[in-house]
């Protein structure tokens, strides 16, 4: 009898405490950012750069009194570049840690897994690295947004750039043999055909994911005597293509148009060919408009981490600052208020003024940068020169096209 009573009291006490906590503690409780990032595995390097910048953003927000007067707290979890692990830590962050927003993800597959958890619990989730447009199209859910150009937009930017090279008549294409490689090549070819009907686009080739023996692909591509090769590759495959291509005279015989973020430029270092490499980037610090904010951020980042911020850093910082701006606008971090606010505000970030998220698919009008890789005096690694910045708005898929794609995917 006594036992039962004690149990009953304890339960009652617990219930009272939670109810009480729910009512009073709001003002002092921190705004919790659930940072479920791929800190180990294939995405480790990118996620670390992102996290470094997000830490700076958190410190800056807290120095100014936090979000809505509440302290900002970063809760970090490692999603290991594995979708199931990503879903698991996302759940843990939402259920146990009661985070207000979820972010950090890098891999597209993990991103889709975490987005599904976000939809399930109706907790806002935004991505600043992972960029699959499936999250905007068939797997779109209303609690999601992404603050960088998605894969299609990036490929469109490349096509716009290539189209202006009137001397290029034959373009070969290749991509990593998975979703991103295939959509990038398809989007690039589609836009280029529209802009330049006179250009011949060669049938694409698809090296397997993580392929490092690129010689056979290089030979096959060069055999078509292209004026340029568009390659949707990254990491090991891209590095191998550039290093192994030199032995085939690749950079004397043709041009390469590929993804070239700051970390790639740095890791290529002296192995970068002197010319004929064109890079697509998300947010290269040297190409940003050198506003006081950008300068201050780069200085702060270099002081803290002894290296230049990469595209992933800049986007991670912009992503959290955009969330903070949305929360201030909504005067709340309640999920529905945030989701309403993200499409109402226009945010001035490191990548320029007027960044907006489209309510229809959660896509930000994020810019893409395309330029020519070259060694310059100021840096000990090659950078992109003759850069052209492409406004995201012109590259986003129109709403009706997305609606159609969603319908097609449902069938």
């Amino acid at each position: 009898m006594l036992e039962v009573n004690r149990g009953g009291f304890a339960a009652l006490g617990l219930a009272l405490m939670t109810a009480f906590a729910g009512q009073t503690a709001r003002a002092e409780e921190p705004v919790k950012i659930g940072f479920a990032a791929d800190l180990t595995g294939a995405c480790a390097a990118l996620s670390e750069d992102e996290m470094n910048a997000v830490k700076i953003a958190v410190d800056e927000l807290n120095a100014k009194g936090g979000i809505l007067g509440r302290k900002v707290e970063l809760v970090v979890r490692d999603s290991q570049t594995k979708p199931d692990e990503g879903a698991k830590v996302a759940r843990e962050l939402i259920v146990d840690q009661k985070v207000d927003v979820l972010t950090g993800v890098c891999s597209s597959a993990v991103m889709l897994a975490e987005s599904a958890v976000s939809a399930e619990f109706k907790i806002p989730f935004y991505a600043t690295i992972g960029s699959t447009q499936r999250a905007n199209i068939e797997l779109y859910q209303p609690y999601f947004w992404q603050t960088q150009a998605n894969a299609t937009m990036e490929a469109y930017a490349a096509a716009e750039y290539v189209a202006k090279k009137s001397e290029w008549k034959t373009i070969a294409t290749m991509g990593s043999d998975y979703e991103w490689g295939h959509t990038s090549v398809a989007a690039f070819s589609e836009r280029l055909k529209k802009l330049r009907p006179d250009v011949t686009i060669i049938e694409p080739i698809f090296p397997k994911v993580g392929e490092t023996a690129m010689a056979p692909y290089i030979t096959t591509a060069l055999n078509t005597k292209p004026d340029a090769v568009f390659a949707a590759l990254f990491g090991g495959s891209l590095g191998s293509l550039i290093k192994q291509g030199q032995g085939f005279g690749f950079f004397q015989r043709t041009n390469l148009v590929t993804l070239m973020t700051v970390d790639t430029l740095q890791s290529m270092g002296s192995a970068m060919p002197a010319s004929n490499v064109y890079g697509i980037a998300r947010a290269p610090f040297f190409a940003l408009e050198q506003t006081p904010e950008v300068k201050a951020f780069v200085e702060k980042y270099r002081a803290a981490y002894k290296e230049y911020p990469t595209d992933w850093s800049i986007n991670g910082y912009d992503g959290l600052m955009f969330y903070a701006a949305a929360a201030e606008h909504a005067k709340s971090v309640a999920p529905d208020a945030i989701i309403k606010a993200i499409s109402e505000i226009s945010y001035d970030g490191l990548r320029g003024k007027g960044l907006k998220v489209r309510a229809f698919d959660g896509q930000m009008n994020a810019p893409s940068y395309v330029g020519k890789a070259a060694k310059v005096a100021d840096y000990d690694f090659p950078i992109l020169t003759e850069i052209e910045k492409f406004d995201g708005a012109a590259l986003m898929m129109p709403e009706d096209a997305i609606a159609e794609a969603r319908k097609a995917a449902k069938k």
């Binding site: 595995g41 294939a42 480790a44 390097a45 670390e48 080739i205 698809f206 090296p207 397997k208 993580g210 490092t212 023996a213 010689a215 056979p216 692909y217 030979t219 096959t220 055999n223 990491g235 090991g236 590095g239 191998s240 290093k243 192994q244 030199q246 032995g247 085939f248 005279g249 970390d263 740095q266 890791s267 290529m268 270092g269 002296s270 192995a271």
Partner: protein, 290 residues
């Protein structure tokens, strides 16, 4: 075009052989499948990265010296691992051996990440090997040709050691009949340790030699071990000639596949692997290969 593609395949095949040779050597003698082989390869690449700027940077001699010193250090690490951990589990079941070598994989990966960070690094190519031999419109890049030559030297050296020296006789004796070799007073422990040292050396050598030709980062280990296994399975684990044949077949098949069946080039390799496995189970290769 066919010609270049064939040469490309041979070049890749030799790199694969360099990786697989150490794995197959260790298995042949000690029956241990060393999952950490890819990790030792990765260490070889990172050590070469450290050594290249110190020893006559840019020169051919400096590069090869760096690779060999790096491989020697990897070999030492291998010996420490063999003496402290592997030696205790030669008679344990396969699962135990799997766990111990995978533990080493995890340790090395984390150490590499701590020391060199998660970003890829670039090992500079020696200046003399940057170019290509150009025949008409055909480019034959220098670097893989030199790696191929180095691979040939290693193959010949291995054959000489195994078949024409006393150490080789002891090694073959240990492989053929461990018990009998021990009865005749052959120090089994010493053989196992030396073989592991040699296998680790080969892994380090392969890592160092291939380093300038691709990206080097802390995830290299798994990439490498998978291709090494495919080669070993096709050639017969423990069979050195088999590994060489397997590596060249995989390399050439892939290169030709990219040209003729771009969508199927990987499938082709697995088809060969499956065919070999089925063929061998029918007894044509005589069961376990030595």
């Amino acid at each position: 075009m066919v010609m270049i593609q064939f040469v490309n395949g041979l070049m890749e095949g030799m790199t694969l052989f360099l990786i697989a040779s150490g794995l197959t050597l260790i298995f042949g003698v000690s029956r241990i499948i060393n999952f950490a082989h890819g990790s030792l390869y990765m260490l070889g690449a990172f050590l070469t990265y450290e050594l290249v700027p110190l020893i006559a940077p840019g020169t051919l001699l400096g590069f090869f010296a760096s690779v060999i010193i790096g491989a020697a250090v990897v070999s030492l690490i291998g010996v420490v691992f063999e003496v402290t951990a592997l030696r205790r589990i030669y008679h344990a079941d396969g699962l135990m051996q799997l766990i111990v070598t995978i533990a080493l994989v995890l340790i090395i990966r984390d150490v590499v990440r701590m020391v060199w960070g998660p970003n890829s690094i670039t090992v500079p190519m020696p200046d003399a090997l940057m170019g290509a031999i150009v025949v008409g419109e055909n480019y034959f890049p220098m670097f893989p040709i030199v790696v191929f030559a180095a691979g040939l030297v290693i193959v010949l050296a291995m054959i000489w050691v195994i078949y024409f020296t006393r150490a080789g006789i002891l090694l073959r004796a240990g492989t053929d009949d461990r018990g009998m070799a021990a009865l005749l007073g052959i120090n089994e422990r010493l053989i196992f340790t030396s073989v592991f040292a040699a296998g680790a050396f080969l892994a380090g050598l392969a890592g160092g030699l291939s380093a300038p030709y691709g990206e080097v980062n802390h995830l290299l280990d798994t990439t490498v071990i998978v291709s090494a296994f495919i080669v070993c399975v096709i050639g017969g684990l423990g069979n050195l000639y088999g590994a060489l044949a397997g590596a060249l077949v995989v390399g050439v098949t892939k290169a030709m596949g990219v040209m003729y069946f771009p969508r199927l080039s990987m499938v082709l390799i697995f088809l060969i692997m499956a065919a070999v496995l089925i063929g061998r189970s029918l007894g044509r290769q005589g069961g376990s290969a030595r």
